[in-house]
C-alpha cells in the first residue's frame, strides 16, 4: 500500500513536470519566433520601406506594391466571403433542422476547412485563371482566398448566432414579427460582434496565406491599377526573398510587417470578444 502510494506520487510529480514543461515549450516557441524575427526586422522598418517601390528585385527599396496588393486581395476576399458566409451561417443556425441538406452543407464546410491551401491554389489556377480566363490577377487570387476563408466565417458566425439567448427570438416572435424580421432585426444585430470576429479571423488568414496566392495572383512587383492586374502579396514577397536568397534582411523586415499585422488582427479580435462577453453578462444581469 505504502509502495503503491509512493509510486503514485512519483507518477504525479512526473506528469505535472511534463505538463509544465510542455506549457513552457509552447511559450518558448512563440517568443523565440517573435523575438528572432522582430529583433532582426523591426529596426529595418522605416517610412521609406513602407512607402517605396522595391528596387533590384527586392534587394533594396520598399514593399509598397505588396502592401497594396495584399490589401486588395484581402478586401476582395472578405467582400465575397463575408456575405455568403453570414447567410450560410444564418441558414445553418436558424433555418436548417437536422435535414440531409444541412448535413451536406456542414460536411462541405468542414471539407473546405481541411482542403490544403495548395489544392485551393491548383483549383484557382485551373478554374479561375485558365477556365474563366481571369489570368493571374487580383480577381483570381481574391476569389481563391474567399473560398478558403468561407469556412472560418461560417463557423464563427454560426457560433455567434447560436449563442444569442433564445428569449430574444421568443419576444420578437411574440410581438408578431415574422421569422425573417426576427432574424434580421433581432438575432443578427445581437450576434454582430461575433460575426465581425469571424470576419477579422478571415482577414488574418488571408493576410498570411501564400500557397494559394502563388498559383493565382501572379508575382508582379508593380502597383496594380485594376482588379485584373497581377500582384505579389506580402507573404509571397517574403517567400521569394528568402527562398531565392534575394535578401534575408528585407525578408526579416517583411516578416516583421506581417507579424505586426497579425498582432493587430488578434488584438482587435480579443477586444471584440471581451466586449461581447461583458455585454452578454450585462444583458444577463437584468
Amino acid at each position: 500500500m505504502k509502495m503503491q502510494r509512493r509510486s503514485l506520487r512519483i507518477e504525479e510529480t512526473l506528469v505535472k513536470a511534463f505538463i509544465y514543461f510542455s506549457v513552457i515549450c509552447v511559450v518558448f516557441a512563440l517568443f523565440n519566433i517573435l523575438w528572432h524575427i522582430l529583433s532582426h526586422g523591426v529596426g529595418l522598418i522605416t517610412w521609406e520601406f513602407i512607402s517605396s517601390y522595391p528596387r533590384d528585385m527586392g534587394r533594396a527599396g520598399g514593399i509598397l506594391p505588396s502592401i497594396v496588393g495584399t490589401a486588395c486581395l484581402v478586401a476582395l476576399a472578405v467582400a465575397v466571403a463575408a456575405p455568403i458566409g453570414i447567410l450560410t451561417a444564418t441558414y445553418l443556425a436558424e433555418y436548417a433542422g437536422k435535414s440531409g441538406v444541412m448535413r451536406a452543407v456542414r460536411f462541405s464546410i468542414d471539407t473546405l476547412a481541411g482542403v490544403p491551401s495548395i489544392v485551393f491554389g491548383l483549383f484557382g489556377f485551373a478554374f479561375l485563371v485558365i477556365f474563366c480566363g481571369f489570368r493571374w490577377s487580383i480577381l483570381s487570387g481574391g476569389l481563391t482566398l474567399a473560398f478558403m476563408i468561407l469556412p472560418v466565417i461560417v463557423r464563427t458566425s454560426e457560433e455567434a448566432i447560436k449563442s444569442v439567448p433564445y428569449e430574444y427570438r421568443e419576444c420578437s416572435l411574440a410581438l408578431g414579427a415574422t421569422k425573417w424580421q426576427t432574424v434580421a432585426r433581432v438575432v443578427l444585430p445581437a450576434a454582430a460582434p461575433g460575426i465581425v470576429t469571424g470576419i477579422i479571423l478571415g482577414i488574418g488568414r488571408s493576410v498570411g496565406e501564400t500557397a494559394a496566392i502563388m498559383l493565382t495572383a501572379g508575382s508582379s512587383l508593380g502597383l496594380p491599377t485594376s482588379i485584373m492586374d497581377p500582384v505579389r502579396s506580402l507573404s509571397l514577397h517574403l517567400y521569394i526573398l528568402v527562398s531565392e536568397g534575394v535578401s534575408f534582411e528585407m525578408g526579416y523586415a517583411t516578416a516583421s510587417v506581417l507579424i505586426i499585422l497579425i498582432f493587430c488582427v488578434n488584438l482587435i479580435t480579443n477586444l471584440l470578444v471581451r466586449y461581447m462577453i461583458t455585454k452578454r453578462m450585462g444583458a444577463g444581469a437584468h
Partner: protein, 287 residues
C-alpha cells in the same frame, strides 16, 4: 400587407438563404471536378499504380512516380504528431484542469498568436533557426525530415490544443466529482476518468492536426530540402506531396502539369477520408 404575401416573402428569403448555403457545397464540388478533370486523364494514361508506387520522379524523362513523396509526407506528418501531440495534450490538460484563471487568460492569447503567424514566417524562422541548429549539431546540410517535423509540430499545436481542451471540458462534471469522491487523486481522475471520457474528441484533435500537417506547404518547402528521393534517415531531405505541387507548378506544362493535378487528387482524397473519419467520430460523441 396580406398574410399570403408575407408568407411568400418569408419563403423566398428562406430559399435564398439555402442558395447561399449551397455555395460552399458547390465550391467543394467544383474543386473536386476541376482537379479530377485535369488530373484524371493523366492517371488513366500513366496508370494509378505506377503513379503511386513509382519510385522515380523525373518529369523531363516521363517518369512520374510519387512514392517518395507519399513516404515523405507520411514521415514528416508522423514526426510532427510524435513531437506535437504529447505537448499539445499536456497543454490542453493544463488549460482545462490545472491552470488558475489568470494564468489561463495569459496562455490563451499565446496559442491564438501561434495560430495566426503566417506559414511563410514559420518557414523563414525554421530555415534559419531549426535548419541551422541541425546543421551545426549533426554535420549535415540540415534540410531534413527532422526540421520539417519540428516545424509542423509547432504549427499543429494550436489546432490540437484547442480541440483537445474542448473535448476535456465536455466530459460531464459528475464523472470527475464521482471519481474524486471515491478517493482518487486529481491525476488518477484525469487519467482514468477524464481522458478516457474525452477519447473521441482527442482522436478528432489528432486527426485534424494530421490534416493540417499533411496539407501544409510553405513552411515545409523552406526546411525540408525538397529532394524527390526515398529518405533513409531522419536527417535526409524529403519532398512532400504539397511541396511537389508548389515547387513545379510554376513552369510545368502538358503531362507534367497534369501529373501535379494528379498529386492534388491524392491530397484531396486523403483529406476527404480524414474529414469523414472525424465527422463519424463527432457523430458518435453526440449520439
Amino acid at each position: 400587407m396580406g398574410d399570403a404575401v408575407r408568407r411568400r416573402i418569408e419563403w423566398l428569403i428562406e430559399k435564398s438563404l439555402l442558395l447561399s448555403a449551397i455555395v460552399g457545397t458547390l465550391i467543394v464540388m467544383l474543386i473536386a471536378v476541376f482537379t479530377f478533370l485535369e488530373g484524371f486523364p493523366f492517371l488513366a494514361k500513366y496508370g494509378i499504380t505506377s503513379f503511386i508506387t513509382g519510385k522515380v520522379w523525373d518529369p523531363a524523362y516521363g517518369e512520374f512516380g510519387i512514392l517518395s513523396m507519399i513516404i515523405g509526407t507520411f514521415y514528416v506528418t508522423i514526426g510532427a504528431l510524435i513531437i506535437g501531440v504529447p505537448i499539445a495534450v499536456a497543454c490542453a490538460i493544463f488549460l482545462a484542469e490545472m491552470a488558475p484563471q489568470p494564468l489561463a487568460r495569459l496562455f490563451r492569447p499565446i496559442i491564438e498568436l501561434l495560430a495566426g503567424i503566417p506559414t511563410v514566417v514559420y518557414g523563414f524562422f525554421g530555415l534559419i533557426v531549426i535548419v541551422g541548429f541541425i546543421k551545426s549539431h549533426f554535420d549535415v546540410p540540415g534540410f531534413s525530415i527532422l526540421a520539417a517535423s519540428i516545424m509542423l509540430a509547432i504549427m499543429i499545436l494550436p489546432t490540437v490544443i484547442n480541440i483537445s481542451e474542448d473535448a476535456i471540458r465536455a466530459v460531464p462534471k459528475q464523472y470527475k466529482e464521482g471519481s474524486l469522491a471515491l478517493g482518487a487523486t486529481h491525476w488518477q481522475t484525469i487519467r482514468y476518468v477524464i481522458l478516457p471520457g474525452a477519447r473521441s474528441g482527442l482522436i478528432s484533435a489528432i486527426f485534424l492536426g494530421m490534416g493540417r500537417a499533411i496539407g501544409e506547404t510553405m513552411a515545409v518547402i523552406m526546411v525540408a530540402g525538397n529532394t524527390a528521393l526515398i529518405p533513409t534517415s531522419m536527417l535526409d531531405p524529403v519532398r512532400t506531396l504539397t511541396i511537389n505541387i508548389a515547387l513545379e507548378m510554376g513552369y510545368a506544362y502538358g503531362d507534367h502539369s497534369s501529373s501535379l493535378f494528379a498529386t492534388g487528387i491524392v491530397l484531396f482524397v486523403l483529406i476527404i477520408c480524414l474529414n469523414a473519419l472525424v465527422t463519424r467520430l463527432k457523430r458518435r460523441v453526440t449520439e
